[in-house]
């Protein structure tokens, strides 16, 4: 079989079943909603929060300190203790350790100074402290920002396409993308940080790009069949997502050695981009094809 034949087979399959295909994202979406509700009732929130969203201290200490040992010994004294070692990229030599806890700053500093045996000052360490009140504030506002961004994005999409169903299709795809990413992040047990939430905001932007590409090509081009248009859009769209995933994946390898924040941002983005492939080319595609076929008749 050559590629022509395979293409024909895929097109025939899609033409027959594209509406049924919607069951796939629909079921994943429903499962996600269900998961989120049970998550909420178990944890009183939709995400696990790290110190930057629930209050606490993060201390980065230079030097070769064993993270596992520290965690073992101090987890009884420091609440919600979390450690991570940081490395030099090239020599793979351990350069320091990042310690996160929801305990208060002065107390944490004292406990750590006792543990390492020397004074922690600005020459050998960095501190970040945020009060519980402020972090709760940040959390609420970042959520507000994400919802506002959604709203504005939706309005812009409507203005661009001026037709109801295609615009809704785009918005549904982006919503599905964010929700599925959220669920995956929860399943992995990742504790979200404030910058991590900002990554979701970035994801909205990346996700909507491929959907706009698809919808634009289908609605505004007048030559070729729907399938041809979808196929061409797919070629471009997949290239876009692939380069993004490639770029972020390579950056992820580099930053995972020294920054928790950047690691989290990039991880959220990669997960989101994979779900974007699913949601743009299954969910959005089926919906817009449905619209076009209906519209044509």
């Amino acid at each position: 079989m050559n590629t022509q034949n395979i293409k024909q087979k895929i097109i025939k399959f899609h033409d027959k079943n594209y509406k049924l295909l919607l069951l796939l994202p629909l079921s994943v979406f429903l499962l996600s909603i269900f998961y989120l509700f049970s998550f909420y009732s178990a944890n009183n929130d939709f995400i696990y929060k790290d110190f930057s969203l629930s209050g606490g201290t993060s201390i980065t200490i230079q030097g070769n300190i064993d993270a596992a040992k520290l965690e073992n010994e101090l987890s009884s004294q420091l609440e919600n203790l979390n450690t991570r070692e940081i490395y030099d990229l090239i020599t793979r030599e351990k350069t320091g350790i990042i310690i996160q806890t929801s305990s208060e700053q002065e107390m944490t500093k004292k406990i750590l100074e006792d543990y390492v045996g020397y004074e922690l000052n600005e020459k050998n360490s960095s501190f970040e402290f945020i009060s519980a009140g402020l972090s709760e504030n940040f959390y609420k506002q970042l959520i507000m920002a994400i919802l506002a961004a959604f709203l504005f994005m939706g309005i812009v999409v409507f203005i661009i396409f001026r037709t109801f169903i295609p615009s809704i299709a785009v918005i549904i795809s982006v919503i599905a993308d964010i929700i599925m990413t959220l669920v995956f992040v929860d399943i992995l047990g990742i504790k979200m940080s404030a910058p991590g939430l900002v990554a979701f905001l970035m994801l909205i932007g990346y996700s909507v790009d491929t959907d706009i590409l698809l919808t634009n090509r289908i609605l505004k081009r007048h030559e070729g069949t729907v399938n041809r248009k979808i196929f061409n859009a797919f070629k471009t769209g997949i290239s876009m997502t692939a380069t993004s995933i490639l770029a972020i994946l390579s950056a992820l390898f580099v930053v995972s050695s020294f920054s928790i924040v950047l690691t989290q941002i990039f991880s959220v983005l990669i997960i989101g981009l994979f779900f974007d492939i699913f949601n743009t080319w299954v969910t959005n595609t089926s919906l817009i094809k449905w619209y076009v076929e209906k519209h044509e008749n």
């Binding site: 990229l89 506002q141 661009i160 706009i212 930053v255």
Partner: protein
């Protein structure tokens, strides 16, 4: 686009002559020191010391270390670009210098190190004007304490709360926490009666140097060293009269050291007793405007004790001069970032960027099989980063961690959009101009969705992510207005060949 690229490079690195400038930059001059009295100012560049050329920080330190400290006052000649400054001193001139920064990029605390605090009044909500007053008061406190290089500003967020944000680049003062949040309510009482309080109404001036503000002596006790300080404060007439009234009613006690009044002068800061001074019999009923305040610092070594005493004296003087805050402040966020992390960090970010770009270029080459297109894409992306950095240095924007994340985000969207253009250019239908216009439509649509997504972020979370929102917005705007059209032109040219 080439023009803008060059302008951006110019903006980042400064004029070409600056790159070749040799010397060290004066980052601060102690006020009232001999050097500042002769005219040396912050921001000047020292090129020669005593006729010897200074090309780096090491040169400067070498020369200074060879001269000081010395027994006699030595003549020191410092040449800057436009002036010559001569002064005599027997110890290190109170000047801090640093290497001349290579770029005009203003790096945020996350990279260059420093401290940042967010404070808000406890249990009280302030009007806008009251917050502005608070900002001035805090800045004043830092300046009086001796820290000039501090940025104090008002910040508000989406929920309407207002905070004061304090940022100090470079080294962190020992008592940053205390300096910011201590209410600094100072009271001097005899018994239950208040004689005077901190602030300019009761205290007209406070001696800060010379014979009237000294660290007197240091001794060793069993485990620690103690150093004692003493400084004079001058009371206003009202406060002095109050002192006279209250002391006139007291009796006297005799002791081995002399005759003192029956009650002591108790000093309270924020309700805590910090010192108790004996009042000499001779002062009973006298309108005295001079009061000597004493105290001590301690430490494990004599140097530590000396430094502790110095800091305590400084803090006390600051509180007495600036008076107290009418309310308590709560520190809701405090970050102190070591400057040593900064260089590592920048290096690593650069490597991450290069690795990503490399991975993407391989993909692009494989997909399009066209060397020129791939090259154009990479070139455009790199230019975009340079342009964003150029704009950032032009507006002196602080590049912190969120800003850098924003730049990374823009590179991603930029590459996406270039792929849209590339694909469009490879189609065989219609004219190239028409196709490129179609691509641009999609790109503009994507631009607006990106723009509106970033706008709420600009104001959320007490402005901590402003950097991200701003660099992303600058990036995508520069993308749509400059690099995307430029890339289209390049693609058009490639197509023609």
């Amino acid at each position: 686009m080439i023009v803008i690229l060059l302008l951006s490079l110019l903006s980042i690195f400064g004029s070409p002559t600056k790159i070749f400038q040799e010397g060290v930059l004066v980052t601060s001059v102690e006020s009232n020191s001999t050097a500042s009295n002769e005219g040396l100012q912050k921001g000047q560049i020292i090129e020669f010391v005593d006729g010897k050329k200074v090309t780096s920080l090491e040169d400067y330190l070498l020369i200074m270390n060879q001269k000081f400290p010395s027994e006699n006052n030595l003549k020191t000649v410092i040449n800057t670009k436009d002036s010559e400054i001569i002064f005599f001193t027997n110890d290190f001139p109170e000047i801090t210098v640093s290497e001349i920064p290579k770029t005009n990029l203003v790096t945020g605390l996350d990279i260059s190190g420093g401290s940042r605090a967010l404070v808000k009044p406890q249990d009280v909500s302030l009007s806008s004007e009251e917050t502005n007053d608070l900002v001035d008061l805090i800045r004043n406190r830092f300046n009086v304490y001796g820290i000039e290089d501090v940025s104090v500003s008002k910040v508000s967020d989406l929920s309407g709360d207002e905070y004061v944000r304090v940022e100090i680049a470079g080294t962190t003062p020992e008592d940053l926490r205390a300096l910011i949040s201590e209410q600094g309510k100072f009271e001097a009482k005899i018994g239950e009666e208040v004689v005077f309080v901190g602030g300019e109404k009761d205290i007209t001036s406070v001696a800060r140097s010379g014979e009237q503000a000294v660290i007197e002596s240091c001794q060793k006790s069993t485990e620690f060293y103690f150093c004692n300080f003493r400084f004079t404060i001058f009371l206003s007439e009202d406060a002095a009269k109050r002192h006279a009234d209250i002391t006139s009613k007291l009796g006297t006690n005799s002791s081995a050291d002399g005759n003192y009044l029956s009650k002591k002068l108790d000093l309270f800061i924020d309700g805590k007793l910090v010192d108790s001074l004996f009042i000499n019999e001779g002062l009973k009923g006298q309108v005295t405007t001079q009061i000597s305040i004493t105290g001590s610092g301690f430490g494990e070594t004599e140097d530590d004790a000396y430094e502790d005493a110095f800091n305590s004296m400084n803090r006390l003087q600051t509180i007495l001069i600036t008076g107290s805050l009418p309310y308590k402040l709560e520190i809701v966020k405090l970050d102190t970032i070591s400057s040593s992390f900064g260089d590592e960090f920048s290096k690593s970010i650069l490597i991450a960027g290069i690795v990503s770009l490399f991975a993407v270029s391989i993909f692009v080459f494989l997909r399009y099989r066209n060397f020129k297109s791939s090259l154009a894409l990479i070139f455009t992306s790199i230019s975009e980063v340079i342009i964003i950095l150029g704009i950032a240095s032009l507006i002196r924007w602080n590049l912190d961690l969120p800003s850098i994340a924003g730049i990374l985000a823009t590179i991603g969207t930029g590459i996406d959009q270039q792929i849209i253009i590339l694909d469009e250019s490879r189609e065989k239908s219609s004219s190239i101009n028409f196709r490129l216009k179609r691509a641009l439509v999609i790109i503009v649509a994507a631009y607006f969705t990106g723009l509106v997504a970033m706008i709420p972020l600009y104001w959320a979370a007490a402005g901590f992510f402003k950097g991200f929102a701003l660099t992303t917005i600058i990036g995508i705007t520069a993308g749509v207005l400059i690099t995307r059209p430029a890339f289209s032109d390049i693609v058009k040219k490639i197509q023609k060949d």
